[in-house]
């Protein structure tokens, strides 16, 4: 009797370990995450506009159809990245995702406070190499640290009404992201 209970207890404990490890392994094992879906459509370290989501042809689930979106799939192994995104008339935001779709940083046009959103993206190691005086002279330079060397930057521009979608798309067409070569 006691022996049977022990077996069941062991089964529950082991089941808990299986559960936790599968949950933790899921981000690495997932084949259909956002990064994988965007990989065939996007070049590395270049900004590209995404097609508007239509019924039956959505790239990803739960995309807000009121927004035009552009994606930069980045790889920082070649050096830090510079992102420039002009602000559209209504509302523009930039969201940074890791390789596993964790939104580690997001900023909107008002928080950026200028006509264009300009950001430098680098890994912690690259940030450590930035000379200190350079950081001081460029006090308004916004540096974002990426926890992973690969990931996604998504720039979104709101079309407050469907007729303004072309304007939102036009604003995004001018957005760029490129690797900064060492001076």
């Amino acid at each position: 009797m006691i022996r049977g209970l022990l077996w069941i207890l062991a089964a529950i404990l082991l089941g808990g370990i299986v559960h936790l490890s599968t949950v933790l392994a899921m981000p690495q094992a997932a084949k259909q995450d956002a990064y994988s879906r965007l990989t065939p459509l996007t070049p590395v370290n270049a900004m590209i506009s995404l097609a508007a989501p239509t019924s039956g042809a959505e790239l990803m689930p739960f995309v807000d159809p009121a927004f035009a979106a552009a994606v930069c799939r980045y790889d920082l192994t070649g050096g830090p990245l510079k992102l420039v995104a002009p602000v559209s008339q209504a509302y523009t935001s930039v969201t940074f995702y890791t390789r596993n779709s964790v939104a580690y940083y997001a900023i909107n046009d008002r928080a950026a406070g200028r006509r264009t959103i300009e950001l430098d993206l680098m890994t912690a190691a690259q940030h450590a190499q930035v000379p200190e005086d350079e950081e001081v002279t460029a006090a308004d330079r916004l540096i974002i640290e990426s926890p992973t060397s690969m990931g996604l930057i998504v720039v979104r521009a709101l079309a407050p009404e469907p007729g303004l979608m072309p304007m939102a798309r036009q604003a995004l067409a001018a957005a760029t992201c490129r690797i900064q070569l060492a001076q």
Partner: protein, 191 residues
């Protein structure tokens, strides 16, 4: 012999229990730090680096890109205020007030997050295009057939999900109490 049988039994139960629990939590959408206002629930931490392992596993599986915390917050509703599950063959009305935000959008999806095809190509409303009455209030009618005013077509699908997104809003960033709001009320009008 008994030892072998016992360990096989244990391993089998463990695998079934563990995988079953994982499947259950990932398909049902279990995440921590939920912020519920009326029929609406948001997970503010899912848009930040503090995202919990369950939400991480879920977005990796679905392929979703969550709304970042510095961008906005997304509230999901699967039922009306009384707990009636959204049925695309019924009529629901959304009315009332929204929390302070620079812009908001409301969108209708299938439970998998796809848009629903309809004749007028409408999948939602933004705060700018919605028709309001003289005191600034609005009513959105979610129905399978055309309605006057703000009609959000359901396409007659069996089940749908509404997502209310607040952009450039302090909700979910400044505080995490359930006293936030008010969020619009959802009522079933008929089937």
């Amino acid at each position: 012999m008994r030892l072998l049988f016992g360990s096989c039994f244990t391993l089998l139960i463990a695998a079934a229990l563990g995988l079953g629990a994982t499947w259950f939590t990932l398909t049902r959408g279990v995440a921590f730090g939920a912020l519920t206002v009326g029929a609406w629930t948001a997970w503010p931490k899912s848009g930040s680096a503090d995202i919990d392992p369950y939400a991480r596993a879920m977005i990796a599986r679905t392929g979703e890109l969550p709304t970042g915390m510095g961008d906005g917050i997304a509230f999901y509703a699967h039922t009306d205020n009384l707990g009636n599950v959204f049925d695309g063959r019924c009529t629901f009305s959304i009315s009332g007030m929204t929390p302070a935000a620079r812009y908001w959008t409301v969108t209708l999806y299938t439970p998998e997050g796809r848009l629903v095809a309809n004749t007028i190509d409408r999948h939602g409303f933004t705060s700018e295009e919605i028709v309001r009455d003289s005191d600034g209030r609005f009513t959105i009618t979610v129905a399978p057939l055309a309605r006057p005013g703000n009609w959000l077509p359901t396409g007659g699908i069996e089940q749908f999900v509404l997502v209310w997104r607040l952009y450039d809003s302090a909700i979910g960033v400044a505080s995490r109490t359930a006293k936030e709001g008010p969020m619009p009320a959802i009522d079933r009008r008929g089937c």
